[in-house]
């Protein structure tokens, strides 16, 4: 790998150059998270802040106060356990739906000619730039019992009574898939568009019919893109708050809502912190996969050798 000689030398300047963004990230990402972990081990109490300190110095005695009550509750209470399962389940279903709708879309966009591709990508990205909050709000209006969808279906005579979608899990699924579809399409598109068309021609030349060529050549080679898209949908969905809150019912259990409730409604900061830690625990494996998938993007440029 060719490097500019200047960057080769481990000079002080080079080391200093790495530091400032690192400081910001460490200070505002890493440290806070360690703090969350610490507070999850605290106990609820009245006062400011509303949790017990980790260490107390009293009469020349240093006491370490680690309370595991929050975690105990989180791992034993059936409601909490149901919430984790529900969150993971909803995230998984959302990811699958995004894949089912998003893969064909990304595929056809990647196959279009340059001008059409540009317009089609623009059309996918445009909603992303407009406020998600407002667009989810639009679904409220559409899915309500007296909303657009029901009115349209009843006017067409397809149903007699309004479909109860609003304030159910179904509405949340619709909202989640709606919000995260572009997150699936874009990385997958990036992967598909790099596919060498000549490989497909070679497959046809060797006797593969279009469907077979897709299955044996295109699909396997697009898997990194599928993986990236899936993770970018799954991981944030597990902790989603806004969409389940606006579209879901009281029995729509999701971890983001749970944590919010603990924090804002119950003012139980230690519990909220514990829920957060459990959430991250659930997500460690997917996050590591994403890190692995994305790390190749940050690889320094390689010069392709002649052979």
């Amino acid at each position: 790998m060719r490097k500019l000689f200047v960057y080769d030398r481990p000079t002080l300047l080079r080391k200093l150059a790495i530091v400032p963004p690192f400081i910001w990230l460490a200070l505002f990402l890493l440290v806070p998270f360690l703090l969350v972990f610490k507070i999850s081990l605290a106990d609820l109490r009245f006062g400011i802040p509303p949790y017990t300190p980790l260490t107390t110095l009293d009469n020349e005695t240093l006491t370490l106060g680690i309370h595991l009550s929050s975690y105990k509750l989180l791992f034993t209470d059936s409601l909490y356990i149901a919430t984790y399962i529900s969150s993971a389940k909803m995230a998984l279903v959302t990811t699958l739906c995004c894949a089912l709708i998003g893969y064909p879309m990304a595929y056809y966009i990647a196959r279009a000619n340059a001008k059409a591709r540009h317009l089609m990508l623009l059309a996918v990205i445009l909603p992303f730039w407009t406020s998600l909050l407002l667009r989810v709000y639009a679904w409220v209006g559409i899915l309500r019992n007296d909303g657009l969808l029901n009115n349209a279906l009843m006017a067409l005579g397809l149903i007699d009574a309004p479909l109860e979608i609003y304030r159910t899990d179904m509405a949340v699924y619709i909202g989640l898939v709606y919000a995260y579809l572009p997150f699936f399409i874009l990385p997958l598109y990036a992967s598909l568009v790099k596919l060498d068309n000549r490989l497909l021609e070679a497959a046809y030349d060797l006797g593969a019919r279009p469907w077979q060529a897709f299955w044996q050549v295109t699909l396997p080679m697009s898997l990194p893109g599928v993986m990236a898209g899936s993770l970018l949908v799954f991981i944030p969905t597990v902790g989603e708050y806004v969409i389940p809150e606006m579209l879901g019912g009281a029995d729509t259990l999701m971890m983001g809502r749970l944590m919010w409730t603990e924090f804002f409604n119950n003012t139980d900061w230690p519990m909220a912190a514990a829920v957060t830690c459990v959430m991250v625990l659930i997500l460690i494996v997917p996050l590591a996969l994403l890190q692995y998938n994305q790390a190749s993007q940050y690889e320094p440029e390689k010069r392709r050798g002649n052979h």
């Binding site: 790998m1 963004p21 879309m105 957060t276």
Partner: protein, 267 residues
């Protein structure tokens, strides 16, 4: 000679794009509806737009949000570009794995995690050294910047990797120091990516509900917070009007920007 299945393609694309745009169309359509309900069309009217412009709470929230967004975008672009450049150009160094991890995390991590962790830190910090004294614009800004750095880094690193190194090498050969090369040669070449990521960060900040919820203080209500608290209670047509305006403005900007980029690519 090998034709794609035209019907399937049309079906998929119509379904997909339809799904994406139906809510937007509804929002815009019903912002002109005289009735407050989305059930029926009672007549064409601008009254919700008039109510919107008389709504002081919304307007001041909008002002705050725009300010924060601009500040966020600028800081995020500076830090994100810096981080991306370092990672792409300086190869593997001790701790680069952690660096990449910290850059990638906010991309996928649920925002509630980021929100609560930053809030807890500010509380603890306030208790320890008395600063920050309370939550407000500064804390929101920090939260947004931390979120946006990841997005900026993703956009910019792609552009940096595509750069023609020989231009930088020529500048070095002609006597410019590495720092000068970065500001005079590299930066202008990646300017479009910087622009794009500035807008991306701006949008993310403008739209954020979760982080602002955790990190805002009394008197510092951002636009999304205001909207969210209202829609929790039911439908509010002036929000439709707001949404329509927003969509139209953003839509025009995005189309204009892409036209400019398309023309650039053609030459």
């Amino acid at each position: 000679m090998v034709t794609t299945n035209r019907y399937f393609r049309a079906f998929v694309l119509t379904l997909g794009y339809g799904f994406l745009y139906v809510p937007i169309a509804c929002l815009m359509l019903f912002s002109f509806n005289d009735s407050a309900m989305m059930t029926s069309w009672t007549g064409f009217s601008f009254r919700w737009y008039r109510e919107l412009f008389n709504d002081q709470a919304l307007l001041s929230a909008a002002g705050l949000s725009l300010q924060i967004a601009a500040l966020t975008a600028t800081a995020a672009v500076a830090l994100g570009t810096w981080a991306a450049y370092v990672l792409v150009r300086m190869g593997r160094f001790r701790g680069s794995g952690l660096y990449v991890g910290m850059l990638c995390a906010p991309l996928a991590m649920p925002e509630v995690v980021l929100g609560i962790s930053l809030l807890l830190m500010f509380v603890e910090l306030g208790g320890l050294i008395g600063w920050p004294a309370g939550n407000g614009m500064f804390t929101i800004w920090v939260g947004h910047v931390t979120l946006c750095i990841a997005y900026v880094a993703v956009v910019v690193q792609a552009r940096i990797r595509d750069l023609d190194r020989s231009l930088e090498e020529a500048a070095l050969d002609l006597g410019a120091t590495p720092l000068k090369v970065f500001f005079v040669i590299t930066l202008p070449m990646i300017a479009p990516a910087l622009m794009a990521s500035w807008l991306l960060a701006f949008t993310l900040s403008l739209d954020d509900v979760v982080i602002a919820s955790f990190l805002s203080g009394p008197g510092y209500t951002t636009l999304p917070l205001e909207v969210f608290s209202r829609v929790r209670l039911g439908l509010k047509p002036e929000i439709n009007a707001l949404a329509t305006l927003f969509i139209v403005v953003v839509g025009l900007c995005v189309i204009a920007a892409s036209k400019v980029q398309w023309r650039k690519e053609e030459t």
